[in-house]
């Protein structure tokens, strides 16, 4: 555990809610609006945190436990994300598995809490969420597999730091395919367009938003924060994969490039959200499996290249 990685965790902890703000700014830019402030989510979270929650008569203890559990598991996952110079606070063989499954634990609580209120709608979101994330899992691991194969290391931070410049130059197609498939996973897991629309107002078409319909006050603040953090984690994985330690050697440059990278991810998400429409629900599984196919094509290219 070194000082930069601890700083990274603290910075992530504090800065995560900026990402959704950047996405919204980008969308506003495309829409020709001024849009909400970049820091809007902070205001929202602080406003919500001051309020006292109201629960449904049907809600059991799980509804009250779930937001905490979601936040704790997402924070636990954050400690495993590689930081600048691709160090992570805690790293060990196969740490990425724990990271992926800690996020899965958060999802478990989100989904079961949605079923806790006996709502007509929340089950819809829950049932979609579990399917889409189950389908996204293999494509996440397919991308990982190729990178492990290339770098021969099993720690996330080491994998990222060993993706050498040489590999980028020789196999741009493979890395591009992995990048695309991981980006789709980012969109799926964080409920972004074209999978899910965070701004939709129709319960029947929601996925993520519908599961938290009955939350308010502190609970909603925790969940909103955890969602922002999850987006941060996935974005940091994508940025970490692209940033190359061989070229950028100074810490300040690393930090600058990392910040720029996160902003670019937010901008790309915002752009996608602005220029594409949601795909029909029945096509989403095909879309996700398609992204997995990209990773598998990359795998085939890799094997053929050997």
């Amino acid at each position: 555990m070194n000082i930069t990685s601890i700083i990274f965790i603290i910075v992530s902890f504090l800065a995560a809610p900026i990402l959704p703000g950047l996405i919204n700014k980008t969308k506003a830019l495309f829409g020709g609006r001024q849009g909400p402030r970049v820091l809007q989510l902070y205001y929202d979270i602080f406003k919500l945190a001051r309020k006292t929650p109201t629960y449904s008569k049907t809600a059991s203890a799980l509804t009250r436990i779930a937001p905490v559990a979601i936040a704790v598991s997402t924070l636990a996952a954050l400690t495993l994300v590689p930081s600048f110079f691709n160090n992570s606070a805690i790293h060990f063989t196969g740490d990425i598995i724990l990271m992926a499954y800690l996020l899965g634990l958060g999802r478990f609580f989100m989904v079961t809490a949605a079923l806790d209120r006996g709502s007509a709608f929340e089950g819809m979101g829950a049932s979609r969420e579990v399917l889409y994330s189950a389908l996204a899992e293999p494509s996440f691991f397919a991308g990982l597999l190729i990178m492990i194969h290339e770098t021969a290391s099993l720690e996330l931070s080491e994998i990222f730091s060993k993706l050498s410049l040489n590999f980028w130059q020789e196999n741009p197609a493979i890395l591009f395919l992995i990048l695309c498939s991981w980006f789709v996973i980012l969109l799926v897991e964080n409920a972004r367009i074209p999978i899910d629309d965070p701004n939709t107002h129709l319960e029947l078409t929601m996925i993520h938003e519908v599961m938290i319909l009955d939350y308010g006050a502190k609970d909603l603040a925790l969940i909103e924060y955890a969602s922002a953090l999850k987006l941060w984690i996935y974005s940091a994985l994508i940025v970490g994969m692209v940033i190359n330690g061989e070229i950028i050697t100074s810490l300040t440059m690393q930090i600058a490039i990392f910040t720029l990278g996160m902003a670019i991810v937010a901008f790309v998400i915002g752009t996608i959200e602005s220029i594409t429409a949601r795909i029909k629900l029945v096509f989403i599984p095909k879309f996700i499996v398609g992204s997995g196919a990209l990773a598998i094509i990359a795998l085939i290219l890799k094997v053929a290249g050997n």
Partner: protein
């Protein structure tokens, strides 16, 4: 060893006493349960000695009709005795406090077969002789048959028991043949002679595939699993806990035991186990998602976990072939740890399902809901077990799946295309299996325990005494302990692994234990931290922050004010998106009328799913066999003089055969 044998005998004798004292319910109950407690506690000592204290117990030779057989307890046996002892004890307690005191018609017979099952399994793992092995195997299967058939007033239970009996005996033929081949090559029935026998490579392959067939039936290897869901569903829950947690593990025991007899393990076997396990796991989950019966869902999940374990064993075999001892060691350790963890989880899930059944009188998830409020202990236990069985941290199944994942990750860093294929199968397969398992158990947990009740059925929670909750608490605590103290399990289980590969002439570097313990230690710390921090944060939040909370609001109903409990999402609607994706596998058949007119009229909706393996493979196969066998029906007509004629013809034929040769 004496202690272990006396434990087996104590359980058996207790069963017999219970049988003969069946008239006096209390007495029978006492002897049945007490002998089980006593026996399982006795058996713990030798298991501890072998597994943890590294002692070797002296083998005991006992006389059998055909030959003399020896009983011994090596590390593999001791490991597989562990789930039997744990679940045997807990389920006996559960049985003693639930089924028997009240409404059991034949408590004597019940305890007799229960104790026979436990004793049979214990003698199975201890037997180091083929004859004794097959005898114990039969005792176990037959006792299990009678336990499933015990609810014979129900047609479904009779069918399930019959299916179980047929399936398990078809499997047993495979076991007979494989031991026949082994014994003829070795010239004896003792297991030690098998080790030293020189087998041709061809016959080794035959033995392996016979073992996969024979033992595959017990573990639920696709497509040999079709008996499994029904048997587990229609047996009493604590019996299902033993069947799934301990008896199906005997299939793995047999498979692993036979692997130790074979001098080399071919690469093909590894691939068959790997992809067979993968298909088993995914198929089980896809079918489970269309099933609406709580216990059936749990049963299919047993099959899924069998798939994971088979994948790990396959990975181990392949890695051994490729001279990758660390990968093999990781995979085998993962397999063993998963067997142990799955036994705990599955025991807990079935006991929870049992206590839900006592309260609701149904197993249909569609008719449940909101049970958690009146049965908080059961709900919490089921929640813990659901997280664990979905392979999510912070619980134990994640740690064993992590080890299997790790073997796949390590294989990815090798450079051959084959190792990439292995790694892809493990990583992508386990990823999908984990995701679908989470879907399955969020569904069961959410729709059974959460929400509001879907029917007006009165909950009979008086049936759930604190004794029942005690068993659930014990098993939940065991799961949490197995998660936090997982690193301590690695080194005793590593001893078992090295015993498995010893006949191959492979020894694993003792440093490997530290290599794989290192990440496991961190994960256990994570588990502890996540559990503790969540508990503390929830405590603080509920104590200080949520003080003025209101909990009298309705659930958000989107303006639809007259919402009834029936408006909730149901099991079938929850899994509908998944079922649509996998429709080519699950063959879900939907019957119903679509609403055509402007105003909704009476409508109906019905889904039906049969296991494709049963419908398209076994039913046609058995029909063909039936058609063939029906030709011989003419021979059995009840005419005594013709029967005597058959005997005479047979004798004559034998005489001629003797004269000619």
């Amino acid at each position: 060893m004496d202690l272990f044998l006396s434990a087996v005998v104590a359980i058996f004798v207790g069963g017999i006493i219970a049988l003969f004292t069946g008239k006096w319910r209390g007495v029978s109950n006492f002897f049945g349960a007490f002998s089980c407690f006593l026996g399982t506690i006795f058996a713990l000592k030798p298991i501890y000695d072998v597994l943890i204290a590294n002692k070797t117990l002296e083998a005991i030779t006992i006389a059998l009709p055909i030959c003399s057989a020896s009983v011994s307890l090596d590390k593999i046996s001791a490991f597989f005795a562990l789930p039997i002892v744990i679940l045997g004890f807990i389920s006996a307690y559960f049985a003693a406090v639930t089924v028997n005191p009240r409404n059991e018609q034949h408590p004597g017979a019940y305890w007799f077969f229960y104790n026979l099952l436990i004793a049979g399994m214990l003698s199975l793992v201890a037997s180091s002789n083929a004859v004794l092995f097959i005898m114990s195997w039969e005792i176990m299967s037959v006792a299990a048959y009678f336990l499933i058939a015990h609810r014979d007033e129900m047609n479904t239970a009779r069918n399930a028991a019959w299916q179980f009996l047929v399936a398990s005996h078809i499997g047993t033929t495979g076991i007979f043949f494989l031991f026949a081949i082994l014994a003829s090559a070795a010239g004896g029935f003792q297991f030690e002679t098998f080790h030293s026998s020189a087998l041709a490579e061809g016959s080794a392959a035959v033995i392996f595939f016979l073992a996969l067939f024979g033992f595959g039936v017990k573990v639920g290897f696709f497509p040999l699993h079709i008996w499994m869901p029904d048997s587990y569903t229609f047996a009493d829950s604590h019996v299902s806990a033993v069947l799934s947690g301990a008896m199906s593990k005997m299939g793995f025991y047999g498979l692993i035991r036979v692997l130790t007899f074979l001098p080399v393990h071919a690469e093909l076997w590894g691939w068959v186990l790997l992809f067979g396990g993968l298909i088993t796991g995914i198929y089980a989950l896809v079918i489970a998602l269309v099933k609406l019966d709580l216990k059936k869902v749990i049963s299919y999940s047993s099959m899924e976990n069998a798939g994971i374990i088979l994948m790990a064993i396959g990975t181990g075999i392949l890695a051994n072939r490729w001279n990758q001892p660390l990968i093999a060691f990781t995979a085998f350790s993962g397999a063993l740890l998963h067997i142990f963890n799955h036994a705990l989880c599955k025991g807990l899930l079935f006991l929870c399902a049992g206590s839900v059944y006592f309260a609701t009188g149904t197993r249909r998830q569609e008719q449940m809901g909101g049970i958690g409020k009146s049965m908080p202990v059961t709900a919490t236990a089921f929640g813990i077990a659901s997280i664990a069985i979905s392979g999510l941290p912070p619980f134990n199944n994640f740690i064993s799946e992590f080890l299997i994942f790790m073997s796949g990750l390590k294989a990815a860093s090798l450079s051959t295309p084959k190792s990439l294929l292995l790694s892809a199968a493990v990583l992508l397969g386990l990823g999908l299996i984990g995701g679908l398992a989470a879907a399955l158990f969020t569904r069961s947990f959410g729709l059974v325990f959460l929400g509001t009740p879907r029917t007006n059925r009165r909950l009979n929670t008086k049936n759930i005494k604190s004794d029942v909750n005690f068993t659930l608490i014990i098993l939940s605590a065991a799961i949490i302990a197995a998660s936090i103290f997982a690193p301590m399990l690695i080194s005793p289980f590593a001893g078992v692994v090295s015993e498995i590969v010893k006949p191959l002439g492979i020894t694993y570097d003792p440093a490997y234990i530290a290599t794989i313990s290192a990440p496991v230690k961190i994960i256990s710390l994570f588990s502890l931290a996540v559990i503790l921090i969540t508990c503390i944060a929830v405590f603080i939040k509920s104590k200080f922050l949520d003080k003025n909370q209101r909990s009298d609001a309705p659930t958000w109903d989107c303006g639809f004010l007259k919402g009834t409990p029936r408006i909730q999402y149901t099991s079938s609607s929850f899994s509908e998106p998944a079922n649509e994706v996998f429709v080519s596998v699950n063959r879900l058949h939907i019957r119903g009328e679509k609403i055509k007119e402007l105003f909704p009229a009476k409508s109906s909706f019905h889904t039906e799913a049969t296991d494709s393996a049963e419908k398209h493979l076994f039913i046609p196969a058995f029909n063909i066999i039936n058609k063939f066998l029906i030709m011989f029906r003419g021979f059995q007509h009840g005419k005594l003089h013709l029967y005597i004629f058959y005997i005479a013809v047979t004798l004559l034929a034998l005489l001629i055969w003797k004269v000619v040769y």
